[in-house]
Subunit: 339 residues, 2 copies
């Protein structure tokens, strides 16, 4: 007997509970539509550090500590940390973990990391390997743009399909017992490469992976979009979000009236010049761990599918002319487990 | 009740069994002391591909398929793939997974990835989330040297403490049931930064992390080095291996008469000019999945601690003057579960 439903969906017997969460963002993010939901924002991108990379590391550390405190726990209570980030060799995570001193299960899922960390943590807890874990990730506009595209000093023109990497971090504590929204199902994503070679159009690269995961999940479980208050994708942005809806319609699935995307929610494209929307590991992480989870706790929403998407590209392979593989990991969030 | 022993060691109730394994290496590795144990070797670094990165991807794909075949299974039987690699954004893994079409749980642990993948896979199987998983990783000398140090065309002089990144990949199938060596305990590593800033002395950077994990494991379980036929570290190389033994002696633990290191085993330093030994994710992966597991199946060894070590460095942070954080993940391998 395994805890699986259909071909590849996991069902948690004792659904892990999100007992604490925290989101910290940059100045631009704090000026956007979700302003009031974030726990903390920073005034300047360096956050008191010498480099953007170390600033991102400090954002992540702050989010992790905030989530632990929000759960009423201390770091010693945390059995394991599940997370990674966008920087080469996930250094933001490694450097943050120097001071946290928690066992680290390092992940790489690009912008899908928040959902991947929730799956890893849920498998760990439901398998009875601990009582509390931390799930977290981050990104930083300046560090990511320099690494993946151009140094900011070039002042490069951005294409209309491009997204704006969110400066921010989100973290949550998953617990084997407790009160709060819980994780009941998960689907681990497959790599899907639709042949997109434009690293300024990640929405198009990621939408087919999101479609693959959602189609599998609905097929495995027999559930349908109408069972959910919201289907929240990671950071498809405006272009990827529309593409996903169209791809799903071809599969007979209509999510249009309940589809939201963290990349579309976090910025106001009319006033913030962010083109197709937000992106980066910190995008879905900061939106989930503030706007979404706070309102699930307030019972605004009862049931949400959270589907974080990642473009698994590197500059080396892009320069070699390779297309962009993508992945999307899914978790089902339900309000109200209370023991 | 949790499946933990002491502070941070996991104990598997139904120890996952290694039912298949495969190792493929480059020409230099195949000329070394472990020659006869590898399943396959390639004559030229490109392996028929246009780039070293895609060659590494093909090595990984070959190892994964080899392990699945060795287990008598097909790809459809695999519930999830646990793995990552050294290249920026773990592209070697992502690109290999385009054709394998298995759910991917992407990891980043640098050269500790083989042990991390075994832990992830074991937690997944012991938690009853599937029947078979793949655990795999790889590295490529040319791709890694270019990324982390200098383009090979420079012909840079290598320092005496430097290690030689192994060209190779190793994979194994972990199964919930079956015959073969099994995984009974695991300890997830913590990030330890001893302040080493020399990216050509990874052994020194990683030894303190290995020490931390081993001390925790022995303290958690009450086991001691004499309980094992071998304590195999990942790729500390000659310098890191000696350093680890000395650090452990300070903690009252003597592993000197049973310590082996994959980085020391894979090359002959006298004839192969590899300085401090082998390194890279593919080092411990190819040694474990050939030399070690074949001899465990032959009952040469009954009980081995496998401790893969990773230097979590990036060129960006190194150039900013930061020191190198390291991590070491541990699994206990035992021969002979037979159902």
């Amino acid at each position: 007997m395994t805890k699986t439903v259909g071909k590849r969906t996991l069902r948690f017997h004792t659904p892990p509970v999100i007992t604490g969460h925290y989101a910290i963002v940059g100045k631009k993010e704090a000026e956007g539509p979700l302003q009031k939901w974030f726990d903390q924002s920073i005034e300047e991108g360096h956050f008191g550090e010498k480099t953007w990379e170390m600033a991102e590391s400090k954002l992540l550390e702050t989010a992790a500590l905030g989530a632990v405190q929000n759960a009423g726990l201390s770091l010693e209570d945390i059995a394991c940390y599940f997370g990674g980030d966008l920087l080469n060799q996930c250094v933001c995570t490694s450097y943050a973990m120097r001071s946290l001193e928690i066992p680290l299960f390092g992940l790489y899922g690009a912008c899908s990391t928040m959902a991947e960390s929730l799956i890893g943590g849920s498998v760990f807890l439901d398998g009875q390997f601990g009582n509390h874990v931390l799930c977290a990730t981050s990104s930083h506009f300046c560090a990511a743009e320099r690494q993946f595209r151009f140094p900011l000093e070039y002042g490069s023109q951005r294409t209309p399909t491009s997204q704006w990497t969110v400066t921010g971090a989100g973290a949550c504590v998953l617990s084997a017992q407790g009160e709060g929204p819980c994780i009941t199902y998960a689907t681990v994503g497959k790599v899907v490469d639709a042949g997109v070679t434009d690293c300024n159009n990640m929405g198009a690269a990621m939408a087919p992976a999101a479609c693959d995961t959602l189609v599998s999940f609905f097929s495995d479980t027999g559930f349908s979009p109408k069972d959910y208050d919201m289907i929240l994708t990671g950071d498809l942005g405006q272009i990827g979000k529309e593409l996903l809806s169209r791809l799903l319609l071809k599969n007979g699935i209509d999510i249009t009236d309940r589809a939201e995307d963290a990349g579309c929610l976090i910025f106001d494209p009319d006033t913030q010049d962010t083109h197709a929307g937000g992106s980066g590991c910190g995008c879905s992480a900061s939106v989930l761990n503030s706007y979404i989870l706070k309102q699930m706790r307030e019972k605004t929403w009862q049931k949400i599918l959270f589907l974080a998407t990642g473009a698994l590209m590197s500059t080396t392979l892009s320069q070699q002319g390779e297309s962009i593989p993508a992945i999307a990991h899914l978790v089902q969030l339900e309000g109200g487990r209370t023991q």
